[in-house]
Symmetry: C2
Amino acid sequence: MTKAAVCTIGDEILIGQIVDTNSSAIASALEAAGVRVTRMVSISDKRDDIIGSLRKLLSENDIVITTGGLGPTKDDITKDALAELSGSTRYIENAEQKEIVCEILHSRGLDILDNNLAQAMVPETARVILNRLGTAPIMVFRIGESVLYSLPGVPHEALGALPEVIEDIKAGFPLSHILHRTVMTFGMAESALSKLLEPWEDALPEDMHLAYLPSMLTGVRLRLSLYGSGAEGESERLENELTKLKGLLGDMMYSEQDDTLENALGKLLLRLGKTVSAAESCTGGEIAHLFTSVSGSSAYFLGSVTSYAVSVKEKVLGVPSEVIEKHGVVSAEVAEAMAIGVRKLLGSDFSVATTGLSGPSGDGINPVGTVWIAVDGPLGPRSRRFNYHNDRKRNIERFSSAALNFLRLYIISAL
Amino acid sequence: MTKAAVCTIGDEILIGQIVDTNSSAIASALEAAGVRVTRMVSISDKRDDIIGSLRKLLSENDIVITTGGLGPTKDDITKDALAELSGSTRYIENAEQKEIVCEILHSRGLDILDNNLAQAMVPETARVILNRLGTAPIMVFRIGESVLYSLPGVPHEALGALPEVIEDIKAGFPLSHILHRTVMTFGMAESALSKLLEPWEDALPEDMHLAYLPSMLTGVRLRLSLYGSGAEGESERLENELTKLKGLLGDMMYSEQDDTLENALGKLLLRLGKTVSAAESCTGGEIAHLFTSVSGSSAYFLGSVTSYAVSVKEKVLGVPSEVIEKHGVVSAEVAEAMAIGVRKLLGSDFSVATTGLSGPSGDGINPVGTVWIAVDGPLGPRSRRFNYHNDRKRNIERFSSAALNFLRLYIISAL
């Protein structure tokens, strides 16, 4: 199997100022392409350290991907180190990258300085993949038997270049023929899900494998992979198993892509031409934030009321004070009254509401982590209690995800 | 200077399933204690790889901190590898950790299995620091001239143990005597701030240094450090320079601790006994989410209205439709009407409102990244336009931070 190492270069990582997210994204893309990542390393901006570490990684791997150290300031010495490592004696200008450099500086209203133009100069030993999102080009070096890809450190530039780098790797290395299909699920924990799927999973052909990738916010992502030879019929065999998997998952599955709940819910509402609103107590605005984080959400999300104080529940949402007194703020009755109230106030087709205890303290009756979620719509109000066991921040996130999923199931049942 | 390496162990990092946040937190704590981190490495759960990599890191560093590979399943072989590396021939039980293991499983309603109890067994060569948040203890090994700390991989367990580990390092190694003071600022970019502070910074004594740690959400964190000898008067000298720095910063400084804007604003409101509400268009609930992410925020945050649709601005917040027609949704007039409307509706002392374009598309007049922020309170409404140049997600975050800061400055001016 083709082996790779990922190396991030820069003091800002070693002093803990920045969390390295590039390595994880690169490793994930390599793994999906059938390349095994043997090691990730973060090193300083010191020349000896860069050359020594890269030489060792190159001797142990077919591919080394670096990020960082390509900026215009004097700290950034990766390019010089790579020139030395690859035996380059001179730099040549890449005209296309130079044009991009000028365009970017111009669009930001900045003068073009010598050290900016130097970004488009590359060692003669380097092959260039253009960086359309920044000034430093991606450089590809053949060093001994191995290939080194040098990517910029700015995450959105590194990730922007990644698909082209992966294509380059696919063209240059004998990779396994891997097919992947992803489905997103919500509502069942990884352990319970694996129990449900066990009989089907055990009967999978030898060349197929199911991976569980749980996330608190988006549920369990399932990736079904076929490690094949490119033979005919492999794609159909994968699709057949996927169909069986979908049958087992039922309405727990919310997307057949690598998607988020808020995105999938948005597509559903767009398709139906329906609108939604939210009334939030314990989630404090997070549900509205999730809805509006999706581009184009103004087509279906009308707005929300964060009713943190009891007076706002009563005055703005019209929750009767007797209901609050009789059942308590954290109750099915209050959740439903909030959902009904906000749907009426904002005039939406559907609504969702939350009332609960995100922490750190309970209310003397319900423990921290208790939430009542309600929805309202053409079928009338529905509500359900959920219990989680996290700190405040994570409870708010889980309550919000659970609310989006509860709404999704209600909308589906109303179809 | 004492040198350290950080090593995370586990296949889940190498396949890109998990972003390694432990290394960054550990590096940051080491750096603050005066230890230089030379390298971070992520390796697989393979015995040879663990032993080979750790041996090399130990030969090059005074301290090695590992996280991960200590779970109860058969993948987790770090403890065995460390036993071999440290020349241990037998395991002994740590009674206190055993008690914690039993307590934790009991509180989760789980049976106590043999592999759980095995968590409390440690190589005889290990000194134990208790893990009060999980089942695997922190193990300390002296190997040759160096010391290895083995921490669990679960982030909140690793971070929970970190202060004790740092104390242990401080007691065992000759560290520089470092004093730090942190202040948080908002409203000026790093480059402009550094220009403002340059004369003062240039005049700092040789043993003092100012570090700029910019963050989009919390502004620029400034850390003033004194690298001393423990001599008398060092602390006073640092305080003197801090006083000068605070004078230069004026009301850009919002906290003298490592704090967030929403937390500092919460403390201010609590101290004044005043309440606040929000009306959000383009920030879509994020301001409410920031307010309510602070424990105890119900004492001052009454609630908010997310008025994504124009109809909600008119019907719920009472923004006159003529104002919207005349000035457009993204305008000072609409922002102020929203702030006035929500303050009246929810009955709060202060309010804050946003209307703008987070992206991806503009409105034909204003470019993406334009936001009008308004506040209302005892001094009457105030508003200001800000322009940012980011993608949707980051614009929403920056708009929200700018709004919190605008409100903070208004409240201060109303005192």
